[in-house]
Subunit: 219 residues, 2 copies
């Protein structure tokens, strides 16, 4: 019986989330902010990729666009502190027990931020390949980061989040050989669930593939 209740409540929460996500999208658009929702499992490299992009943007004339980050995690402020080191605006969002950010949490984070002084916003979701799937946050594009250390079967295990992401990044490709995982096999699996997906290979630790990814993100 609890299953039925769960589903009905689920629909209401998803509808409410969608409405608030649209409001967030309007707020961000109204301020001319380019925004991204980064999703992916823990350790896939979301934070490091965002950090690499921030450093690339800083190299541009006039120090580049003004960047802000929202660091979403169940607990702690490790990612928040990493972003602050790059001298960008940052907000820490702890979900406590929730396994994903939602549009409502993000809307409160946006209230604390000086939106007039932001050109590009990175929202880093909780490390999880299941729960964030159905919760759009209002960002313009969703970037899904997976890594070769997650095994060669991970696309088959989590097809839905691949369908609902705009850009897919396969990170840590430098470890592919030692992990005995073929990144091309991952790309093939991605193509099965998302034939039109933009897929990029990166090695964020050494900066490989970041510029190509940024181009796809319109940065």
């Amino acid at each position: 019986m609890h299953k039925v209740v769960d589903v009905e409540l689920g629909v209401d929460i998803l509808a409410a989330n969608k409405r608030i996500a649209e409001e967030n999208a309007d707020v961000l658009k109204g301020h001319g902010i380019t925004s991204f929702d980064f999703v992916g499992s823990i350790g896939s490299g979301k934070t490091l990729i965002i950090e690499a992009i921030i450093e690339e943007l800083k190299k541009r004339p006039g120090k580049g666009p003004k960047v802000a980050c929202i660091a979403g995690d169940v607990a702690g402020d490790d990612d928040y502190r990493r972003f602050k080191k790059h001298k960008v605006m940052a907000e820490n969002l702890n979900t406590e027990k929730e396994c994903h950010l939602d549009a409502h949490l993000v809307s409160h984070a946006l209230e604390h931020m000086d939106l007039k002084n932001i050109d590009v916003l990175f929202i880093e979701n909780v490390g999880n390949l299941v729960c964030p799937t159905d919760f759009p946050l209002g960002a313009q594009k969703r970037v899904l980061v997976i890594s070769v250390t997650e095994g060669d079967d991970m696309v088959r295990k989590h097809p839905l989040i691949f369908r609902l992401s705009d850009i897919i990044v396969i990170n840590k490709v430098d470890l592919a050989k030692i992990m005995e995982v073929d990144p091309k096999g991952l790309v093939k699996d991605v193509r099965k669930v998302r034939p039109d997906a933009k897929v990029f290979m990166t090695d964020a630790r050494h900066g490989t593939g970041i510029k190509e990814l940024m181009k796809a993100m319109g940065l």
Copy 2:
């Protein structure tokens, strides 16, 4: 408002899950089955560790105890097929959209299994460090598998599941140096949230640490 509804329903579901978990525990105990709930993020090495334990058990006189596995995943049957290759009894449990197994799903899997012919049961939960936390399944012990590829901050980000696991395994220690992660730092973080935890280091790909882990599991 939806937050209040969520919490109230949550408590009911958790209470119902706990009750069914106790029923599962009784069923397993009644059949003299030693049982384990393996939790951990995707790619941490849960399946490989269970496979390594199965092969170790097979070396025993009389081919060792009779093993069964329940492979929990959102989608697909990759892990189920891996278990079947070891000629053990196996059930595939797809949660479809749910981010964790629950006691109710496991009770149905148990209905399909020949419990009289099982000595040791491994239940492999969905790859997720948040959602399985509050859902005991009825297994005697919970084994949490993390890996050095998940970053040096992962304990701080997910303290709760460490508190609610009996045995903690740090896997892929052979990659610690290349990942620039110090396993001792992870152990230190684990000790902060669980001073009494049994912590083991393994490299399941090369069989390192498996026997020590089995001893702690009473196998």
